[in-house]
Each structure stands twice: as structure tokens, then as C-alpha cells.
Symmetry: C2
Subunit: 452 residues, 2 copies
């Protein structure tokens, strides 16, 4: 079956076909390629080749590619492709995807495009755009079948055949005369029931619905936690507005995970595929944190300056500076990754912070003692004398316990105050621990070595 994984066309192949003007062959090639893969290729091609490739796509493929491609290519397409064609492509898309595309454009351009769309689609997109970004309202499909409780199975099947395209048919929702959601019938239940059974007799009444204003991340958590395929979206009067399906949620999860990982690494997340953002955008995402941490790490320089005298007298103390800051930073980085993931999965929160902290301190203490033992060995190998070895051996467990504590407490408290805990990155913990760890180190050295 491995043959089913078609070899994807490479960037070079496409460039060659365009240079040699073999457009028919390229068109053929693109027909056999999934739009998601074509979108990735466009992100890698240079603007001119990307535009030619895009222009060769049939309309359905083009609209899907438009939906999946990154911001750099989108921007080019919006600039180069004429508005009529863009509006046609948007008409082809599910309206939630069209809204997502339009929201990133300047208002003047998006208004112009919406005016060029089919009246019905234009109206729907305008309604979707009234909901806030990153809420269920923006993710949902409004093409959803709504049944009435007194219908029979046969009548319902008739109704379903009359629908042009309701995106989700796995679950059929039942509403009352005010459009309020009162039940759900899984499609399989419907086809397994007798033709004259009423909807009321086969529907399930305990149905989970979410308000249209719910944050997309909370929605994604619910879907993945409870294994839903689709979840109905309602307004504050429980009226059925639409449905969010698991494939929309997968995209949200991927997006949120990408954000989390980049924040944990200490930068603002790129909200686009890697090659779809400009160098300048990458710099903008990183410079803030880097500067902040830079300024913060001058604190460690201050500590070293403060203990200049001790360093002069006991030169060997200097050899361990990076060992101590490094170990504190590494232990903190390990902890913060674990804790932040546990917060995201709602396993750790303020109410059980005590329990989490006790575990991390136990872990930190044992790890620190092992590090301390290795530290003594290293110190003695450097012939530093036993007193310096002792300082190092005592410092390491304290620094490791301290850094696991910082890495446990700060994210949980941030989460409690509605600050996204992932802004507490590994580098941030490392920087905090650098200065404080050195302070502990030099104070211990002062006590033990009795340097005046």
C-alpha cells in the first residue's frame, strides 16, 4: 500500500515545468496533489512561480489552497489576483474559512471583496465576522440540519435529501419552534430506526452545547477531552447557531501547540508557517523577550561585581559560575516544561499547587544532591581545595530546589491571574535563577571560606 503515498512534486520540478512552459503537464501534476500540499509548495516557491502555479489550479482546488497557504503568499495573491476571481474563490469556501481569510486583510480590501461575493455568502460572512476572533462563533459552520420533534424518520430523510449541503450530518440537532436546541439524533441512530418513529422518540435529550462566545482553546479542550465529533453552538437563549466539527478543532490544537512551544522557547509565536513569515516579523517576535532577558541578566553581572573581592582572593570560585547558573537553568527548564503542560491539560492548578510543589521540591532535592556529589568530584579534580568543593556541593542542591520552586510556582500563579502560563519560558526561569543562584553561591562562599 505504500504506493498510495504519492511522491509530492518538488519545488525544483515545478520551477522547471514553468521555465519550460509545460503548463499542461504542471496542471496534470497539480490535479493529483492534495491542496494542503500545494499550499506548502507555494510557501516555498518564489512569488512569480507561486502566482503561475496558483493560476493553473481549478477553482475548488484554488479556493482550498487559498485557505491553507501562509500569509506571505496570501498577501501576494491578494495583490496580484483580480478581485472578481478572489471573490469567486471565497464563495467556494466553507464560510468559516472565508471569514478567517478576510479577517486578516485590511478593512477596505475585505469590504470590497465581500461586496463582490454572492449575496447569500456575503451576508453569512458578515454575520460570522461580527463574532470575536478566536471564539466558537468564528469556527462554526452555520450549514446545519435542524429537525423538529414531531417529524418521522421518513420525513426527516426526505428533508435531508432536500438539503444542498449541510457540512455535518453525523449528528442531527432537534430544535423547538423558537429554534432552541432540545435534542440530538446521531445519523446512525436515524437510519437504524423504523420509518414511522418520531424524532422525539429517538432523540437524546442530554446534549452538551457551548455558547457562541466561548474561547476556541476551551472549546478544543472539551472536544479532545470528551471525544466529541461535533459540538453545537448556541446563543444566550439556547438557540442553535451552528456546529463546530473536530477537524476545525484539530487546526486550533495545532495552532495553540505551536504557540505554546514557541513561547516556552522564549519568543512570541509566529502565527504562520515558518517560511511564510518575513525575517523582519521573526525579529519582531523575538527581540522583546531577548532584550528583557538581556537586561535581567545584567543582574547576574551585578552579583559578580558585588563579590569581586571574593573572586580575587579565591580565584577558583570563578570556574563554577557557569556550572551553577547552567544547572539551575536546566533544572528550571525541565520543570517549567512539565508544569506548563500539566496546567494546559488542567492537571495542575492553584488548588493543588501545594501538592505539585512538594513533588517538585522532592525531585529537586534528590537531583540537587546527586549534582552536588558530582560537583565535589569535579572541584577536587580541578584541585580547588576542599573548602571550595564544599561550597559548590552545598550550592547545587539549594539552587536546584530553588529553581524547581520558581519554575513550579510562577506559572501556576500566572495562570491563576489569567496570564497565559506559557509566557513563563525556560529562558525566563533560567535568567531569574542565574542571578539568585549566584547570590546563594557567593553568600555560601563568604560564610564557609570566611573571606573578608
Amino acid at each position: 500500500m505504500e504506493e498510495q503515498f504519492v511522491n509530492l512534486p518538488t519545488q525544483e520540478l515545478i520551477e522547471n515545468l514553468i521555465e519550460e512552459k509545460q503548463f499542461d503537464q504542471l496542471r496534470q501534476l497539480l490535479t493529483n496533489t492534495h491542496p494542503a500540499d500545494i499550499a506548502d509548495l507555494l510557501d516555498e516557491l518564489d512569488p512569480e512561480h507561486a502566482l503561475v502555479t496558483f493560476s493553473l489550479l481549478p477553482i475548488e482546488a484554488a479556493s482550498e489552497v487559498l485557505d491553507e497557504t501562509g500569509s506571505l503568499v496570501r498577501q501576494q495573491l491578494v495583490e496580484q489576483v483580480d478581485d472578481e476571481k478572489l471573490a469567486d474563490l471565497l464563495d467556494e469556501l466553507p464560510m468559516d474559512d472565508a471569514a478567517e481569510f478576510l479577517q486578516d486583510l485590511p478593512d477596505t480590501i475585505s469590504d470590497r471583496l465581500i461586496d463582490l461575493m454572492e449575496p447569500e455568502e456575503a451576508e453569512e460572512v458578515r454575520e460570522l465576522l461580527r463574532y470575536e476572533e478566536e471564539t466558537a462563533g468564528r469556527l462554526m459552520t452555520r450549514d446545519v440540519a435542524a429537525l423538529r420533534r414531531h417529524w418521522t424518520v421518513a420525513e426527516t430523510l426526505e428533508y435531508l435529501r432536500s438539503l444542498e449541503d449541510a457540512e455535518t450530518l453525523h449528528y442531527l440537532y432537534v430544535v423547538d419552534r423558537n429554534d432552541a436546541l432540545i435534542g440530538v439524533v446521531p445519523l446512525r441512530k436515524l437510519i437504524l430506526s423504523k420509518a414511522d418513529a418520531t424524532i422525539e422518540s429517538i432523540m437524546a435529550r442530554d446534549i452538551v452545547a457551548v455558547p457562541v462566545t466561548i474561547d476556541q482553546e476551551d472549546l478544543a479542550d472539551m472536544v479532545s477531552r470528551y471525544d466529541y465529533y461535533a459540538i453545537p453552538i448556541v446563543d444566550h437563549q439556547n438557540r442553535l447557531l451552528g456546529v463546530v466539527t473536530v477537524d476545525d478543532v484539530l487546526d486550533v490544537i495545532e495552532e495553540e501547540v505551536t504557540e505554546d512551544i514557541q513561547r516556552l522557547g522564549g519568543s512570541e509565536p509566529l502565527d504562520q508557517p515558518y517560511f511564510a513569515v518575513s525575517v523582519l516579523q521573526i525579529i519582531r517576535k523575538r527581540i522583546g523577550w531577548l532584550l528583557l532577558l538581556f537586561v535581567a541578566s545584567t543582574l547576574s553581572g551585578e552579583v559578580i561585581r558585588l563579590f569581586q573581592h571574593e573572586l580575587d582572593v579565591v580565584v577558583a570560585l570563578g570556574f563554577f559560575i557557569t556550572l551553577i547558573t547552567g544547572t539551575g537553568g536546566n533544572a528550571g527548564s525541565q520543570t517549567v516544561a512539565t508544569i506548563i503542560r500539566a496546567i494546559t491539560l488542567d492537571e495542575v492548578r492553584l488548588s493543588n499547587l501545594g501538592a505539585a510543589w512538594r513533588r517538585e521540591v522532592s525531585v529537586g532535592l534528590i537531583l540537587g544532591l546527586v549534582m552536588g556529589a558530582v560537583g565535589i568530584a569535579r572541584a577536587l579534580l580541578w584541585h580547588t581545595g576542599f573548602d571550595v568543593a564544599l561550597v559548590v556541593a552545598l550550592t547545587l542542591p539549594i539552587v536546584v530546589v530553588w529553581s524547581t520552586t520558581v519554575a513550579t510556582v510562577i506559572p501556576v500563579v500566572a495562570d491563576r491571574f489569567k496570564i497565559d502560563p506559557t509566557v513563563i519560558s525556560g529562558p525566563m526561569i533560567a535568567t531569574i535563577v542565574d542571578a539568585s543562584g549566584l547570590l546563594i553561591y557567593f553568600l555560601l562562599a563568604k560564610m564557609i571560606l570566611d573571606v573578608i
Copy 2:
């Protein structure tokens, strides 16, 4: 609609109800709680309370809870609940979940439990366990409807009604007389077709199937990339073996993301919820990398030792040690998080490493120049003299470019050699950059300050 989010029972509430022997009330409470939430509660309760709570669950809920709970609780349940009951619970589960549960147990126990299961379920579980862990074979459900091409729509509906429970009915697969997969009919297409149409006339023939041996991570990538709800699994002769659905894939994605984040933080991943692993297990996951990095960071100590003479002569050089290692580490950590995520999403690979590297170097150069400017300011504020300020200003751009390079190249090359790139963690890059960054710093100092 916010009322629909039922308040979850707290750990304290459950403990109180058990202490006061209000079992009926607790049973009632648990009936209204989702098994996924009960499983989390069991992870937090102490063993005795967890066991009592578990024993109050009706059989379907108990089997789902057994499936969702973490390893510590599972271990207790396996020890405390008698085998007959456990086998009954396993009979209730979808067989892919039962297999997942059994694979973590010692062979003697799992064999004993399988022998106690219903013969049909036992046979199915044994077959699933023959597939390798973390492959499609372990994730798939074998309860899948298989149609024949000459059937009519009416006959097919009859057949579907006769099935006891095929987990996935969204897509109906069509096989030939050798069970080879030849087509697919979406359920909605079936109900929208005329009763006397043949399956052959309505089925789609271009169907994507994957081999049973495919790695679960690759499978998850396909499902999320192409927005599939379900994907059929076949053997090497294209015979239909089962189907993997998007909810199984969501679990895989969550598991893989958790692993990635923890590895990036510099520790081996915990493959269980946070409170479901023992302190000893956490230590075991972290100690290896911590020790390795500890030993590696003694290298920076060696560099400091090597340039002891320069440090003695120009004391101010010492103030910038942590600033330089910190900035290099932070820049590297930002880059490695971005690049590793891009590798996971297949945006960056060996073939476009050059392009990625050019971007990262441009980014690093500009970031480094900004850092250098700030570094000069800081140095002059510390009254270090212009020569030291110059050394710092020159070192920072070089170190930042160097660390972004290391953080770009190593993960891509690791990936090429089939090493999971996420083992290249932020702390690892920071440690590599620490020693080499200091070397650059001191060498520049030596040249510029002309210290002999």
C-alpha cells in the same frame, strides 16, 4: 448556557462523602460526571478513596474510567480489584483501548485477564496485541462495516441495521471477494441515494488507506493535515483490517505534543498525567540529561580557567560572563523551539536547511547587533573602559549568530538521521553555546585588549 458546564465534584467533596459513608449521594454525583473527569479525580485521590469511588461506578462508566486513568491508579486497581471484574470491564471497552490497557501490564497478569474475557473479545485483543506498539494496528477498531459492490442501497441499510455495533458508520468501506478495499461510501451519500442504486454506482474509488504497520505519529499527521474523520487500515495485500478514527488521533496528538514539550525542556517525557507518576519516575526522567548537561557545562568552567590570567588583569571581563552565556542561550532557545516545531510540521527539512539557515543568520545578525549596542551601553555604565565595551559589543552579535546557527543545523541534521529532533532541547543548545560563546569572548578580548 453556561449552566451546562456542570461544576465538577472536588477531591474534598468526594473524601467527605466517603468519610460520612454517604455512598448513595456519591453514586448519584458520579452518574452526572463524565468518565474523563472521574479518571482525573481518581489520579488526585489517595489510593483508598480512589478504590471506593471506583467500586461505586456502574460497569460502563467504570470501564471508561479504567481506560482514561493514569498509571498509578491503574496499578492499584489491578492489584485490588479482582480479576473477574477487571475482565468484565475490559469486555466493555472498545478492543483497541483494552489492548492499550493490557500492553502496560506484566505478561503473566495480562494473559490471565485475557483468559477471563469473553472468547470473542479475547481473540480480538490477542490479534491487536500482535501488532507493534505505537502503530496503526494498535489504534484501529476492527468493528467496521464492509459492503459489497453489487449490493443496493436498500440491502445495505438492511445490513447496517443487522450490525450490533460498528464503531464507525460515517464512512462505509467497500471490499471485493478477497476483502481487498475497493471503495468508500460516506453514510450521508448512502442515505441521500435512491433505494435501488448499487453501491458500485455511488462509491468513490480514489480512497486513501494506510498500512497497518504505519507509525501512529505519521498517521496522526495525515489525519490532521488532510482533515480526515476516519482512515481505513489495510494489510500488505490491501485487505481491509480496520479503521482509525479522528478521536483516537486526537489522543495521539496530545501524547506526542506532551512528549515534544517535555523533551524541549530538557527531560525525558512523562508518559502519564502529572500526578499519576511517582517522584522516583520524575527523577529518573530528568537525571540523565541533567547530568550530561552538567558534565558538558564544566567545559565552560575550563574555558574560564584557561583565561584566568586575562580575568586577573582585566577584572571587568568577568562581569559579562553570564550576560554572554545567557544571551547566547536565550537566542538559541528561541530558535530551537521555532525550528523543531517547523520540522514537526514538515516545513523545514534537510533539503531547505540552507534557506532556513540564511533566515536564522539574518535574524541572529540583526538581533545580535541590537544586543551589542545595548551591551556597549551597559559596559560604559559599569565604567569598564571603552576597550572592554568594544569586546562585549563585538562578541554579542557573533555569539547570537553562532547560537542560532547551532540551533538550526543540529535539529535538522538529527532529523535527517532519524533521531527525534526534540531531544535537541533548549538547555542542550544553551550548554553547547555557553562554552563556545565564552571562548569567542575571551579570544576577542585577548586580541583587542592585547593582554599577554
